[in-house]
């Protein structure tokens, strides 16, 4: 009958201990999938192409019945849809989309627009934010083997290959690098003030999520920009980012701030 759970595989970022704080950033990150969709009727390739084009851009989605979020209509962005292969009624395609897009639902909706109906048959995630299946993607056997090498033989080289610093997860988020003296204040939840900024990336707009890092490249916090890159470069006082999620434990850097001191 072809029933049964569709096969779902691919990039699943797993964070350990302190790094679990970074998960939020990965959940919001864009995703890419390769999917096999099964059509319930005959459709020409040209028609598939044109319907795929229609789905690019902003779409409306109501999360499925068994979803972990509230079932209200929400919009999601489809960056691209690329038809790879059609064989019989099976359609292989690649889709780049915003985090939180339901691909099973997308297949169903494509089926509705085509008129014949369709369902998701197989799904493979090829990207979650900065993590891709091409770069350092490891399976459970790798993990178990490398971990045993470390535990039994004390060899850390392999474990350093399969585990990456959590900062990797922030790769696509615009960054602000700060002085050592500003680090501990942010770790305590303080907002970032202009004098603490050493350098920052282009393209930051007011309201954007930014990552605050030390000059060594360690993640300090996730924050919301209170000004654009250009504005921050010119500011000599005032706050530039509102701290949202502290990622670094307190006390790693010395406490250089005093209560009631103005910045």
């Amino acid at each position: 009958m072809g029933w049964g759970n569709p096969k779902v595989t691919g990039v699943l970022p797993i964070a350990l201990e302190e790094a679990t704080k970074i998960i939020q950033a990965l959940q919001l990150a864009g995703k890419e999938y390769v999917c096999v969709m099964r059509l319930h009727g005959e459709v020409s390739e040209e028609r598939l192409h044109s319907v795929f084009k229609e789905f690019e851009g902003e779409i409306y989605q109501r999360p499925p019945v068994r979803a972990s979020v509230k079932r209200r209509l929400r919009t999601r962005r489809i960056y691209y849809m690329e038809l790879l292969e059609v064989e019989d009624r099976n359609v292989l395609f690649r889709v780049g989309c915003e985090g939180g897009t339901y691909i099973r639902k997308l297949c169903y909706d494509i089926g509705e627009v085509l008129g014949c109906g369709a369902h998701m048959r197989e799904l493979r995630r090829t990207r979650a934010g900065p993590l891709t299946e091409e770069e350092n993607c490891v399976d459970l056997y790798d993990v178990a083997y490398c971990c045993s090498l470390w535990k039994e033989k004390g060899d850390e080289t392999q474990i350093r290959r399969i585990v990456q610093p959590m900062e990797k997860a922030l790769e696509l988020i615009p960054k602000i690098y700060i002085r050592d003296s500003a680090v501990d204040a942010v770790c305590h939840g303080a907002n970032l003030a202009a004098p603490g900024v050493v350098s920052l990336e282009t393209g930051i707009e007011k309201g954007d999520t930014v990552a605050i890092l030390t000059l060594k490249g360690e993640a300090v916090a996730l924050a919301k920009a209170l000004a654009s890159t250009e504005e921050i470069l010119k500011m000599s006082r005032g706050f530039v980012a509102k701290t949202k999620r502290v990622l670094m434990p307190r006390g790693v850097y010395p406490k250089m701030w005093r209560k009631n001191s103005s910045v």
């Binding site: 759970n5 964070a15 350990l16 990150a29 350093r160 920052l200 990336e201 060594k216």
Partner: protein, 92 residues
Amino acid sequence: MQKNIPPWQIKRELKIKSEEKTDPNYGYKPEERPIKEYLRFGIINLDKPPGPSSHEVTAWVRKIFGVEKAGHGGTLEAHWAGEIPKLQAYCQ
């Protein structure tokens, strides 16, 4: 308003606001953390096998490493689990 560009295709440059050095006595470059620290602040780009749920896979990884906490980002699920066994039971 927003152009249809995936985040991984956006190019950014670094702008310097002021010159400053970092004190090597505090913190580590992420790749140079001692192994215990490295793992505590580590993520794994795991290739999820078909079958088990994201939660199950994460629990296995937690056990393999013997750590207390592990979490996964962006659940990778068919969103069918539960429905099919019920349907099958119904059909029998």
